[in-house]
Amino acid sequence: MLLLILLSFLLLTGCWSSKEIEDLALYAGLALDVGQPAPVEEEFEAKGATYSKKNKVMATIQIVPTKSTSGDEKKKMIAPKHYINISASGDSILEIFRQFSIRRDRPIIGHHLKVIVINSDLLKKQTIEQLMDFVLRDNDIRPSTLVFISRGKAQNTLISSQPNEIPAFHIYGMIRNRSRTSKVIQAVTLSKLDGLMYSKRSLVLQNLETAKGETEFSGVGIIKGSTGHWIGNLNQEDTEGLAWIKNEGHAGVIKTYDRDNEPITYEIKSMKSKTKVHVNDGKIAFHVSIKTEGRLIEIWNSKGHYTKDESNIKEVEELFKAKLKQTIDELMHKLQSVYKVDVAGFGEALALKDPRLWKSIKDDWDDLFSKTEVTFDYELKITEFGSFTDE
């Protein structure tokens, strides 16, 4: 009996490597910027508190939630922030993370990392493979983490002017708005990025723009597969164009101006596209058919042109079609002539159609693509006029 009791002391001591969650610092966001010592670091370094490194990258992590402040009511006059951002620079992300351990009281842990934001200037200097290597290997960080790009300082995207908000979660939640607009691209998770990087495909990451403590999804940044560097951005309308071509969009609007230069707006109810590949003697051509249905949702013109007769509807449909065509043409111009990359899924379509041909050309696909003929046809149908009628 005594032996049993002693044995239970030995065996029922709980988990071996357990760490209490209160004693850990969870980080939810990671921002990577061009390396320069953070202000705090500069002061540390001035005092000789440094180690051997090159300042190639500055990592900022967002730790949530910070300790709940208890005690004096009066001190609570300023609303406490729910997060702390902490930055340091160096040339190894893990080393920077470990460097936080000599600055913070609680060890940081990456299980709940939701978003990674990378500055585009940093991506000009370093390749995406270099920057993502550690986060892909680490056992805490999940491959479901989302990756974004930012033209401005990436660490600013982790700052919010809203008092009760955690910016990392905010950005993570904004992805849900894909149901309302096709300016939000399908989120790129680490596992997806891993595959794209491995196959050296050019890719786009959602771009984040900040102003006055607010963050906005604005277009996408292009990373060229062959080099792994950032080469430029596509604006918000181009991003919509991408969604049309890749058949990835769900919703959105098309706004254009009628003959009196008043805005009219079409709400997309369905958007579908189909890419056909034609290969003739090694000459590749694509044809994309775009089909959409929607409702006429907003008319500013009060002259009453908009009756529901057939010819009238046709005329309005043509207006929207022209606008859609303009969007797509602009995008194709940028992809084929300015940046010379295929990020609209034409390569994938070819790979499905003719895998052998694809295998032989996939390494110079971006160049070939810029000389490939792509044609479009559009089918746009207004099916209703909303719940308001002006007849």
Partner: protein
């Protein structure tokens, strides 16, 4: 321990016994090993072919066993090829079982250490599993089979549920194009897709314990069909969910599939932890099978008491667990085990069947 006389198992128990012996840690790495060898999204076809290759193998084993009703390979091998050659064959088989047992526990510990229990010493994970295994195995085949019957539905249900949720990142175009590079990649991947059935040699032992050997063929084919189906499901979902490029670069692709999505609002947001904890039970079952076979083999071969043998096995298995120095060693060992399996199949099943056939049909001897 307890004295049992009913050391027989039913057909459904035999089916689950075979399933649990084949299905273990392999499912966590299989998509990578197959896809890496092929570099093409056609891995699901290879898995299908592998499955159809393994069926006749199982049939051959069952046929051989049915010639010697109630006897395991350790007992009948000597009768076919002579006492000493038989003993050597069986010793090879036993060595093979000990190595796999160690391999299974080590993989279990590696996965557990990497994702769940960072900081726990490896022996602290390995030893309790071996001890618990010792207790289970000392109960004999009937107890083992009963435990399997309890664990199996839980692990499979949870695996299917996790796979079900992974459908949200499933993209059919990741599995296309089919046969884009012709059939060459299929052949390259075939080796890996057969090696995942390591452990099916258990057929030559469990058939002897079946209550009703007439059902053996059906039960064993069923027992191999379950892992076959699950492997197929795994390869389709993992490649479809992650794309082949991600699968190739991932150490544990099946876990990475589950790690690639979050279910906000569900009572667990991330399924990889429960899945891993539950899959540990499956790997434990897998380990116990090999533990059991190795102990039984030695005891039948040298007429030693089975209970004593179990305890002698414990340090041997522990040693075999700790031999690989790194995870790279472990994966290399996994490949080696697969190749050993193929050779042992040729040496035992094919050779024994051939010799038996020549002696009985050709020389009209009575074996």
């Amino acid at each position: 321990m307890f004295k049992r006389n009913d050391d027989k198992i039913t057909a459904s128990q035999a089916t689950i016994f075979l399933t649990n012996t084949v299905l273990g840690a392999g499912i966590l790495t299989m998509p990578r090993s197959v896809t890496q060898a092929m570099d093409s999204p056609d891995s699901w076809i290879t898995i299908l072919i592998g499955g159809f290759v393994i069926m006749p193998v199982i049939l051959l084993m069952v046929r051989l066993c049915l010639k010697f009703q109630g006897q395991t390979i350790f007992e009948f091998a000597g009768k076919i090829v002579g006492k000493w050659p038989g003993k050597i064959l069986c010793l090879l088989l036993i060595l093979y079982f000990i190595i796999i047992a160690g391999f299974e526990i080590r993989t279990l510990a590696e996965v557990g250490l990497f994702f769940l229990l960072e900081g726990t010493p490896i022996w602290a994970i390995v030893l309790p599993f071996i001890w618990a295994g010792t207790y289970l195995v000392s109960g004999g085949i009937n107890s083992i089979a009963r435990v399997y019957q309890i664990i199996f539905p839980i692990t499979i249900l949870f695996l299917i549920v996790s796979y079900g949720f992974s459908l949200r990142i499933f993209d059919f175009s990741n599995l296309r194009p089919s046969l884009g590079d012709g059939i060459m990649p299929l052949l390259k991947g075939l080796k890996s897709s057969i090696l995942i059935y390591t452990g099916c040699e258990v057929v030559m032992i469990i058939v002897a314990f079946m209550e009703n050997p007439k059902q053996a063929t059906k039960a064993m084919l069923g027992g191999i069909a379950i892992p076959f189906g699950l492997y197929f499901l795994t390869i389709v979902l993992v490649v479809g969910g992650l794309s082949i490029n991600t699968v190739i670069t991932s150490t544990w692709p099946t876990i990475d599939l589950i790690r690639s999505f979050e279910i906000t609002g569900f009572f667990v947001e991330r399924l990889e932890f429960p899945l891993m904890v539950i899959w540990l039970m499956q790997m434990f079952c897998n380990f116990c099978s090999f533990f059991f076979q190795a102990s039984l083999g030695v005891s039948q071969l040298f007429k030693v008491s089975y209970q004593t043998m179990i305890f002698i096995m414990v340090p041997l298995i522990f040693l075999s667990t700790m031999v690989p120095k790194s995870r790279q060693d472990l994966f290399a060992l996994g490949d080696a085990i697969g190749m050993m399996g193929v050779w042992l199949f040729l040496l035992t099943t094919v050779l024994l069947s051939l010799v038996w056939w020549i002696r009985v049909k050709g020389l009209k001897q009575h074996v």
